[in-house]
Amino acid sequence: MFGWLTQTAALAALNLRSLPRRPGAAAVAMSGIAALTGVFAGVLSMASGFEKTMEGSGQEDVALVLRSGSTAELNSRFSSEQADVIRYAPGIVRDAAGEPRVSSELFWIVNAVGKSSGTEANVALRGIQPAGYALRKGYRLAEGREFTPGRFELIAGRGARNQFAGLEPGQMIRFGKTEWLVTGVFEAGGSVFESELWCDVNVLQSAYQLGSGFQVVRAQVDGAAGRARLEEALDGDQRLAVDVWSEEQFYSEQAEDTTALIRVIGIPISVLMAIGAIFATLNAMYASIAARARELATLRALGFGSLPAALATLLESVALALLGGVLGCAIAWLALNGFQASTLASSFSQVVFNFAVTPDLLAQGVTAALVVGLVGGVFPAVRAAMAPVTVALREL
């Protein structure tokens, strides 16, 4: 008699070869698990895509100065005098000409019409200063030209252009009482800025009677040490009541609420789906054993052990789960990876992001599938091992 390992291998090979002869049960187990994996990967890819966009937006060596207590650019506000004080504060990197690399900005919300929904959505219209371009990693003009300072002109982030109507270069678009000319489309390394429209900050001030003030000052600093120096200087200044943020930290905090919501909803649902998939697999595996009861009993009568019979059954279930898991991941990847979506973020404006079906997620999805396969296979495996040979041979 040969060892149980060889026996298991022989039985498993026999099982797998007979799969095409009972396609129904196999397909059911596989599709159930594929649906589970697909949903799992789909939900999490949305969360991870959103997170990636938000976290990719901030840079460690850019400091964000906001009014004290404000957790969003939208809620911050200070005068132009205050902005000037910040501009020349220590810790800020200066360019060759000795000018600080600072952009004092306004973060405004306008209404644009979503291309797929056909309804109005809040889009960020950001007024920047010339240094603003260089403060964004990966900034690149993709089409057209940049806006001319002093004119009612704007450039659209690539994500905004894709999601909202009327943002093609050369088009005029009306926000409130002002008509703007779209002069170009820009990229910014897939960050949240690609969801925005950019214009000259002074033009924005006059377009909507916003006075001469700003909402946020962005400054290039010399790493964490530079930021600390800036913070110290501003804290000690009687004319100011501001917070200094690392841009990186600012955007990862902005992502938290939304990703938490997606996960709070998504994970329990995936778990429940997994339980459903386990029942489906159990059914399919019991059916598979019932269909082969005679064959199994005959093999047992020939001297195959019960452990190999159990292991082979378990292997079959795991193999089906693996196939289903890979199928589900493949579908999620093909259908969703890079799928562009937008949602209202905590900045009160639309953030355009791409679903990211990462290798990490795929691995998690397949792992979940394997767990389902194992749990769904273990009871049937026991049953296969326990079935008395004589009864199985007599039945049917």
């Binding site: 059911v28 949305m46 209404n111 959505a121 639309q350």
Partner: protein, 386 residues
Amino acid sequence: MNRFTLIWRNLWRKPIRTVFTMLAVLVVFFLFTVLEGLRIALSLSDVGIEAQERLLTSHKVSLIMMLPAAYQSRIARLPGVAAVSHGTWFGGRYQDNPEFAQYPVVAEEYLALNPEIKLSSAQRQAWLANRGGAIVGRPVASQYGWEVGDRVPLRSSIWTRNNGSNVWEFDIEGIFDDTDAGMNAGVVLFHYDYFDEARAFGKGTVGWYVSKGDGSMPIENLMASIDAEFENSPAETKTNTEAAFAQEYAQQFGNIGLIVTLILSAVVFMILLVTGHTMAQSVRERIHEMGVLKTLGFTSGSIFRLTVLEGLLLILPVGILAMALGRAALAFVSGAMGAMFPAGLHVGTQSVVLGLALMLAVSLGSVLPPVIRALKLDIVALLRTA
């Protein structure tokens, strides 16, 4: 022994299979109900009757821009306007919980315009008498454990007080119910006078106006006439019904709704597959027995009915139980997260009907094809099957 015994015994032909199928159905219709509840809540489509009638006027450029307080008297003077009041987004959160709705309002005006807010007259008097007082919707009060007489701090992400602090404290003077279970259900209301005096900037502005027509003109005309009043002024306005406004806002979360729908479809796909296959399998197993029943004098029609009833019996009771459990779960979640889902999580008749239709589709869709195929065969052929 009667026909039901026959159906019942057939249902439990393979008990393990039946139990697992039922459990899968249970999980799946539970999920279906919960996801429907979430989808409806996220779409804010269920805002109550009052919200269909009330108008909301905001800044034309964007919701975050403030309107002058002086607009109130101009709206009030327009023909067709019965009453007008205002609200402002406070943007506060309690401790580390997510931001929820609080508005500074002019108490008597606002309550008159929002009759669905039910507040006892004692609490109403107490609130009117306390400048720093607030009233709160019951779902929020129960989530955070607030009671009348408590003093609660809210940290605003927008409004700074004159002393530079973002933390505002309010005395809870009343807890109200929203009979519409609409947009007011989970709001904290406090006095605008107190707020306007204490805020460091933005004095003399409000977030939006709420108004109601007197019925003398169609609501569309009224909306147009309000917006016309402020045309070419520094702050132009956009007026809509509260209900439409809520839905536009919900639309902005668009893709999350899409994902919920996607999950729903995957779930439904899974039900169809699992139960459908299992049930069809179970019907195919007894084609020979159908032949036997026919030799005993059973007609095709009665065998058909027995089999279809069995299919329904497998799905419907468990499915209905699952939907009931799903509704209980939704009620539990809305109780525990009153601030996030103040109007509660519900599934309406439409979802229930959809769920029942799905159950019927699954059981009939899987039983009918094999049974019809089997009954098309004559007895001799049925008996010749192994």
